[in-house]
Amino acid sequence: MAHLKTPPVNSVILAILSLVLFVSFRDNGRIRYFQSATLVEDADTVVGFPSMTDGIPDTLFQVRSASGLPLSYYKKIYTGVCFDNECRMLDIVLYWNITGRYLGFELPEDEFLSKFDHEPFSESEYERLHDLLADLLSPLGMYAYNELAPKPSIDEEEVDGITSATSKEILEYVVKGAAFTTYTLRTLVYGPIKDEVESHTRQALSEELILKILQSPDVSDKIWALGEVRERIPLSPKLRDQIFEYINNDSYSLAERAIDAIDGDELASDTLQMLLLQKFYETDYGLKKLILDKLKEAPQLDDKVKANLAENLKKWEGALLSNVLDLYIAQKVFDIETCRLVSELLQNENRYISQKAFNFLQSSGLNDEGIDKELKTYQMASHSALP
């Protein structure tokens, strides 16, 4: 059903794009609504990438800064919205942020959006549409097109199309009187084009770009960027410091993504391991576990990290102690000093802890007279305690 026209790029569009992108109603006769972009720099060039929409060849445009960084993407849309083609054709330019986030829309000069009976949108309806399109979590995405389809209705309050009615539950997520328009636009914004946008940004990724995205006021941009670091962007000290800033208790999701962004190979660096260890002591339980799991990925556990964790073994309970011992096993930390510290846990009155220590020492394969004696004592005490 979608039919896209691709008029040539012109300098007027470029001039408009070079403006700061904020919400506005009319600018030079055009209706346009925008959110804040991640990168706010002057547009310099526009590059077109081949794209397909409903099987028809099309173009996705990438706007770049003078230094070649992607700033935004846009696509010109010309399509029908109603299944019976009784509605006006939708003629609009949709914009995406470089992280795939919805950025805004713009209508060609003197163009307008309309509802049933071709009544134009009011300003508040444009604002509502903009808000609805910006809502990543809108339930409208869970509905199929045929759930908007016309139904015979004698209730005029429900009439939404020429002869149609929109389901009451969907009304909450669409512009009243423009369900098909809202739905069509949302499908375009969050459909395959979003994936294409992200893919093109990935092609352009660099440390510089990642650092800029991490400065975005939009948390979803930061999370997107953190998800792109691992195995793609080497950790310079600057990037490392920026990522480590997110490893705190303020936002679990940011912290989780930041920890995941660290590539295991990068942990060949003792400095990085010590930084991670510091974060271990500063963060909540859920993040501590993630940090210990990350340390398992290190090529080799730094001696200072090993020693520090071993010195503190007696302080920990439950899963935290278990996780540290699992880290030692994964890193084959079976030296005599560590094992002696672990063997002290055999005396712990908490049988879970003493059993954990026993299991660790058994798997160590270490031959030490003192430790072997303690293990035998523990075994005998355990057996005598059995009912």
């Binding site: 948390v219 679990y252 859920g286 799991d293 309970e317 439950g318 049988r351 009912p387």
Partner: protein
Amino acid sequence: MLKTIGVASLGAVTPKLLKGDVLKAPYKVTEETVHTDILVVGGGTAGVIAAIQAGRAGRKVVLVENGSQLGGTTTTGGVSFPGIHFAWGKQIIGGISWELIQEAVALNGDVLPNFAIPHGRQHWRHQVQLNGPLYAILAEQKCLEAGVSIRYYETPTQAVQENDDWRVETVGKGTRTEIVANQVIDCTGNAYVASLAGFDLLREAETQPGTLMFRLGGYDFDALDLDLIENRYKEAIAKGELVRAEFRGDIVGLLRTKGDNIQHIVGADSTTSQTHTLANIHGRTSLLKHLKFIRTLPGCENTVLEDMRTETAVRETYRIVGEYQVSHTDYVTGVVFDDAVSYSYYPIDLHIIDHGVTPKHLIEGVVPTIPLRALVPKKSKNFLVAGRCISSDRLANSALRVQSSCMGMGQAAGAAAALACAHKTTPLDVPISEIHQLIEEHGGIVPKA
């Protein structure tokens, strides 16, 4: 001669044995007495966490579960979607349950929701989709690792307190056991052991419906003529062939969700074998009728049942009369109790049989808390509950009963029971600061005034 006759007559009554067969004596029910520190009855959403916490705190724990696996509604029930561990951008329930969830997500290659983005009115966006079978395995492994003695296929028949200990009789496949425990945690969800022990319970005249979880396939939803389907559905209801309430009058919803958490089974009750049998039969009978009906619809002729849980999951049965009853007002205003042992966060979520559910969201910034007293049946000693049978009014219960809250309760109950056992006292006499400390040492998050 007589010996020969004797042997011959023995040969006459003994079955003819094939080579390799060994004649065994008739099976006898094994009777035994087991001594433990803490008995957890019910290995569901709350019970698993309670057992692991108590085990990690160094106590001997027995976990009795009448089914075949751990996890309750999260696994057997098929609602593998715990929520909500985060509120207003911050984690409010952590510890053992979050550890299990993290591992289940990582091991399945899944991704956690982005808790930094507010869920708005779509609270389910902050619930975590889990691989249910995987969660069941991980829960079991962590119980075993914590030294918990798991007893599947057993159910209590009697609970009597003698001095400071509880004597709980259970029956199972080939077993009759007396479990002597210092502390009991009833995580049945139905306050079943509390009832056996003689404590007062509450129940609504009409309880929230249950749901059998299943998955349909074999049709293209986008290609269906939904108007025609709705009309045919209404006709079938009018003729009495289908019951409107069983799918909330929403055939489109059933087809769209493919059966995910949409069925309503009136009066579903998992308390006893009889009531749970009825709930299961009702759920499956309803499913079969609707499946046959759906297959008559244009575009749905090839609809198939791809999967189905083994039990109808239950929302509401009994609640204890506790030392404190959490009220709707307590919940929606976020009262922080002096003895708060866990947070809770969910909209008020009452399922009405004919109309489904209209969640009532909490005001921004409000995070309810759960007091220890609400986990203790009135006048009880050495006894706790955890899970949906918490002492609460109906509206508060509709939010408290959800999985994350039950998990938080489970850890609190496990900690309280472990300390009560160590101190040789009853849970409410354990200094609350010690319970808080133990929960926090095991990663839990404790509300602070």
